[in-house]
Amino acid sequence: MASKAEEKSSYLPIILASGVAIFMLGLAIYFPLLILGLVIIVASVFKLFRDGAKEKFSDDKEVPEEKFPLESVPKEKLGIWIFLASEILIFGSLIIAYAYVRINSGSWPIATETHNVLLGMTNTIILLTSSLAMILALASIRSGNVRELKIALSSAFVLGLAFLVIKLGFEWPDLISKGFTINSGLPASTYYTLTGLHAFHVAAGMVAIGYLMFRTYQGGFTNTKHVGVENVGLYWHFVDIVWMFLFPLFYLI
C-alpha cells in the first residue's frame, strides 16, 4: 500500500526539467528542439497548475513521511559522494573538451608513436592494484585486523608513489626532451592538463592515505569505527576510474 508521501509524489518536476534542458539545447543548436522543449514546459506547467487546483498536493496536516531522501545515508558518505559527483563534472567536461578539440583538428599525432604504451599500461595496472589494496584495507579493518590494514594502506601508498614516479619522473621528462612540451600545441597541452590534473588528484589521495596510516598507528580505527578508510577508499577508486578513460584516450586512440 502506497504511503501518503508516495501518493503525493509526482514525476512532473523531472519532466519539466527535461523540457527546460531540451529548450536550452534547441536555443543553442537546433530550432525544432526549442519548440519541443517549449511544448513540454507548457504542458508540464499546465498539468502542475491543474493538479494544484485539484489540491492534489495539499493537505490539512503536514505529511509525516516526507523527509530528506538521503536522510538514511551517513553525512560523511553523502559528502564524499557529492564531492565525487562534482569531480565527475570537472573531469568529464575536460575530457569532452579534449574530444571536441581533437575531432575538430585537421591532424593529430598518432597516440602509440607519441606515448609509451608499455609505461601507460604499467601505470594502469599499478593504479588497479592500489585500488585492490584500498578495498582490502577496508575489508581488513571491518574484520578488526589492524596489522593487515597497515600493510594494505602502505601498499596503496607505495603504488600511488610508483604511479607518480613513472608519470612525472620518466614519461614527462622523456616527452619534454622530444619537444612535446605544454606549449607545443593542442595535443601536448590537452595531455599535460588532463594527466597533470589526474596526477594532482593521485598526490592528494596519497596525502589522505598517509593520514589514514598515521591514524592507524595511533589506534584510530577499529572494526566498528573506520569511516575514514571507507571514504578515502571511495576517492581513491574514483581516481582509478578517471585513469581508466585517460589511458585509452591518450595512449591507444
Binding site: L84, S86, I88, L132, L234
Partner: protein
C-alpha cells in the same frame, strides 16, 4: 574471505581487460571500430570499479543517483558538443 576472493577476481578481470585494450589496438582493421571497442572496455572497467570497489551495488538507488546524475550531465554536454560539431556551429 569470500569478499577478498571476489575483490581479487575483479582485479584480475580489470588487468585482463587492460591487456585486451592494448591487444585490440594492435590488431589491423577499422579505427572507428577499435575506438568503440576500447571505449566500451574502458566503460565496463569503470562500472566494475564503481559496483564492486566503491560498493555501489549495495548502496541504495538514492545514493547512486548522485554519480548517475553527474554522468547524465556529462553525456548531455557530450551530445550538445557532438550536435554542434555536426551542424558546423
Amino acid at each position: 574471505m569470500a569478499g577478498i576472493k571476489l575483490y581479487v577476481g575483479i582485479w584480475l578481470g580489470l588487468v585482463f581487460a587492460t591487456v585486451m585494450e592494448v591487444v585490440v589496438r594492435s590488431l589491423p582493421g577499422s579505427a572507428s571500430l577499435f575506438v568503440l571497442i576500447i571505449m566500451l572496455i574502458a566503460s565496463a572497467k569503470a562500472i566494475a570499479i564503481s559496483l564492486y570497489y566503491q560498493n555501489l551495488r549495495h548502496e541504495g538507488i538514492r545514493l547512486a543517483t548522485l554519480p548517475i546524475a553527474a554522468v547524465v550531465g556529462i553525456v548531455f554536454l557530450a551530445v550538445s558538443a557532438a550536435l554542434t560539431m555536426t551542424m558546423g556551429m
